[in-house]
Amino acid sequence: MKRLLDSYQKLFSLHEINKDLAIRLFGAAILLGFIVSFKGWESSYLSTLNAANNGDAICWPMFQGCYDLFFMNRRPHGYIQNTIFMSMLGLIFVAAYGLIAKKYVTAHFCILILFIWKAYLTSINYMANGNFDYYHTAFTFIFLFLPHKRFFGSLSIPLFYFLSTATKIHEGWTLGTYFTSMVTDLPLFPDGTTMLWTNMVILMEMVGAWFLFSKHKHIQKTVFAFFVIFHLYSGTLVGYHYPLIVTPALLIFFGPLYKPFHSVPLDRKAIAGWLLMCCLVSAQMISHVIPGDEKLTFEGNFYGLYMFEANHQCSILMTNENGDIVYRADTTSARNRCDPYNYMFRGQKKFCQGETQSKISFKQTHSINGGPFYLIVDEADLCALEYKPFSRNRWIKTEDEAKATARPRENYYR
């Protein structure tokens, strides 16, 4: 048994947790992240067998046959999902105890199970694609599997800031139209100053974030303070979830416990960490190699960071051969993304099963950042549509191909 424990500790570099308070706190922050995520998922309908049977669950584009993996029901139709989630809460408590009582194998093993459970839930639910979960999954992976945990945990934070700017090089941020096309504009700041703040965020995330590693105390602390305030401010729009996952890691690695790195790990043990960083960069670039504005078409949009990529308004209409409306949705909430894949997937599950099918037409208009409503989908046969996860889907029109139909009114962030 001792040999097994030694091998486990060696395999997952648990000595790093033992010798570094920052890593132990990082583990605690990860547990907080699990609580925040699981709180919303514990009673989620979208991971249940009923959601799959009713065609409401949405699989990821690269895994469209995910319904085979559904097995749970939630109250009042069953208790399996709720029971598993309560077991996970128990594991969170045990892991927290393990971190405090220096039983690191126990803590690590519990977090490993939590990670596997979260990976399963994410893989069967396209709606579990939140950026906060993306951060949290990367943090957990680093904590669990990588050697040089402190270095790669620290690096992931400015790297995420940096990568997030790839989605902000767009009028929505450079001209600030994301916010000026809302009734309430940017919270707390005077109207007319929006462009100043949005461009400052872009420059701080792209350039300033790297100075979190500065050896100059004043520069490092100033940048650190900026990002802490930035996260607290962002909560006025996004609520607690995102700040609760990102800010603790920022506080742990770049707050009072910050120690400048004298060199970058380049030994064999660091290969896995660098591979993860390469994966994060590659995922961020997928949407940019697919032609068209991904904020309008959503092709490749959810593979990297996409937070605040655009302010959305859209209208979806599905009619049968008699012209009867079988599905209609209008949405004006800035953050309610109008991904055509969602409507295609759910529509096909509801209307294209069985032998007697009526032809369903599918139209979608979509406006981003207060720009024109573009008729991005105008298809006569919903059931004939296919979705390619990593390349252009001709049935989704880009801003150059789609007809502009109308001009929207200012909306709200809900």
Partner: protein, 69 residues
């Protein structure tokens, strides 16, 4: 689409946006609009420039130095 073409489009207010103002550029945004593609190109150059500089300075050069010794 030019701002003039945009302003000619019929205005639609979905759901509860019916009473709010139509969207459009502010004077400041309109003033920057002609240069926005140039600005975006500059930002992309900065993005890739920073990425390449960091990789070269902190990974490639130390690796090459390590290989020499």
């Amino acid at each position: 689409m030019t701002p003039t073409e945009f302003e000619k489009l019929p205005i639609i207010g979905l759901q509860d946006t019916g009473t709010s103002d139509p969207t459009g550029y502010t004077d400041l945004q309109a003033a920057f609009l002609p240069y926005i593609d140039l600005y975006h190109t500059a930002l992309w150059l900065l993005f890739f420039g920073i990425g390449i500089t960091l990789v070269t300075r902190f990974i490639l050069i130390p690796l090459l130095k390590g290989a020499k010794t």
